[in-house]
């Protein structure tokens, strides 16, 4: 497997497939970042797409090819911020969407009441994450939303693997305390599913 730097150099030589591979590699992280900033407005996918376009346009300006991840993260943050600013007027008049894009099979099975519980539960999760220190939040979203490994998170955020491990350990501790009540209510209904990555 080629590393980021090699892929970047291939892109610069005009190999668009190499950029496709970079998109594959980072789309989860970029999407989660976009979601983290503007997700509740249903724009995460658009922001992610815009981020990759902008990154491709300015790829020649990337100084250190090996740091493609943090560079991409910076572009994603800027793109999300721009999107929020551009839409600030509309958003201020709009109620955020419930955290759900389309009805899936699980929703249909649970019915309207189940849906409500599910959305309430997600509200609590969101509140717990918002209560975390700023630098803990993105790694948590990357981990739980896209199930990224510590290495993938570290390559994207630019922090070392040990730092990510420490962050997720401390964040996990705080989240467990914050979500203790939810945890008890749902005992037995939420089945443990091991990480599949």
């Amino acid at each position: 497997m080629q590393d980021d730097a090699q892929l970047v150099f291939r892109c610069l030589e005009g190999d668009t497939d190499a950029y496709g591979e970079l998109v594959d590699r980072y789309q989860g992280a970029v999407y989660a970042t976009a979601y983290y900033y503007a997700g509740r407005y249903g724009a995460a996918e658009d922001i992610a797409q815009e981020t990759f376009m902008a990154a491709y346009r300015s790829l020649p300006w990337l100084k250190e090819a090996a740091k493609f991840g943090p560079w991409l993260k910076a572009i994603a943050c800027r793109t999300a911020a721009n999107w929020l600013r551009k839409n600030a007027r509309r958003l201020s008049a709009e109620t955020p969407l419930p955290y759900r894009r389309t009805a899936n099979m699980a929703d249909l099975r649970l019915g309207p009441r189940g849906n409500l519980e599910r959305s309430e539960r997600f509200d609590r999760i969101q509140a717990a994450i918002d209560a975390l220190p700023e630098r803990y939040r993105l790694p948590v979203v990357l981990r739980y939303m896209q199930e990224l490994s510590y290495d993938e998170i570290s390559v994207f955020t630019g922090e070392s693997r040990d730092e990510i491990r420490g962050i997720l350990q401390r964040a996990g501790q705080q989240l467990r305390e914050a979500l203790a009540n939810t945890d008890e209510e749902d005992e037995g209904t939420v089945a443990w599913r091991p990480a599949n990555k």
């Binding site: 789309q27 797409q49 491709y56 955290y99 939303m145 490994s149 996990g172 939420v190």
Partner: protein
Amino acid sequence: MASCKQVESMIQAWIDGELGDSERVILDQHFQECPLCAVILRKHQRCAALLFEGFSEHRLRHSIRQRIMENLPEMEPLRVNLEGINWRNADARPKRAWLGPFMRMAAVFILVCLAGLLYSAWPKGEKSFDGAVGMITQTEGAVFREAGHGLFHRSVALKDFVKFGAFYKTGPNSRLMVSLRGPTQLRIDENTRFQICDDRKVRVETGRIALDVGRDERKFRVLTPSGTITVYGTVFEVSVDSVQTLVTLQSGALQVESTGGQGELKPGEQTCFTRGQSAITIRPVDANRVLGWTKAIMPDTDAYDSFTREVQPLKIAELPGEQVFAVITTKNGKPRAVSSFCLTWNPVGDDADRCGYDVHVYNETMRELFSVHVDGSVFANPNRRSHEIDVPGAPIVNAGVLHVKIVPDNSGGKQTPMKVSAVGL
């Protein structure tokens, strides 16, 4: 064997499947042996499950690669070789191209503003005639005129006009003579700083000045840090240092006023007063000897000609037509009833016609109480120096401050400077 604390710090990584094989084996074993840690593990697992479950429906489930690759934009061409360029300067687009014209305009604008400021603050020679009250009729050595804010000094030349409020300073071994309208001759010794307030008022801050004051119906005042000297027409010397003011009278009469009280000087007398002094002391002195230094300063003939031709004939400013006096009717904090008002003036022995005055009396809120007319013949009488106006009806009581306005009537004739006081019961 790992401690429970070490184990707890590794629980998250264990759940996330991010532990090395050896660590995993140690933890697996610990969880079997330690029921407490096993409980904590289960809680962590439930929390993680809750988070995964909560986020699962928001996960990006399909690849967006296709969408992006179909709309891939053109790369921006690089204008410079990035190698060797600092990351901060990576945006190497030439900024000067568009900053240039703007910066040039801004620079020109700023320069013009600064030039204007400098021009307005530049000290100018007093060659213009406007507002002149006198002229420099002799100068010798280092003599400077100061601009109002004390920042600029400019040396003084013969025939410079002297204007209201001008500050002058003489350096060591220098002499200055100023002729004011009147005519009043000021001879200024070295190391003196003074201000010409107007043609009848001079403020001496430090140093020595001899005055030959032309007689006029207006008082001439010399202000010093420790008191005021008032004259009508006389020759005297004022010497001011940081502690005291020394006044020597050669001819005429003058009045000295300081915190210590008032005193009158006769020719050949000297007084010395300081601020905060309790009384003014007067002693005889050889005035000719004291004022001997002034003989060395004689006006430049040409300059004095200019003075008599250009400055002296200027019409003395007319008294303001209308005057308002505030008359306090309390004495020692007690209110007094006012039965009449007294106008006082200094009689001038000329035969000119005098104008009459309308006298209006107002209370504190400027409501008119009464008004009377005083004929011009009252002021023309050389034997009179005061005129009393009775309050019609009952005396005014508890009035506080009364305002008396005197307005000249339109009978023509010269105006008379006067004072107004209230006469109580």
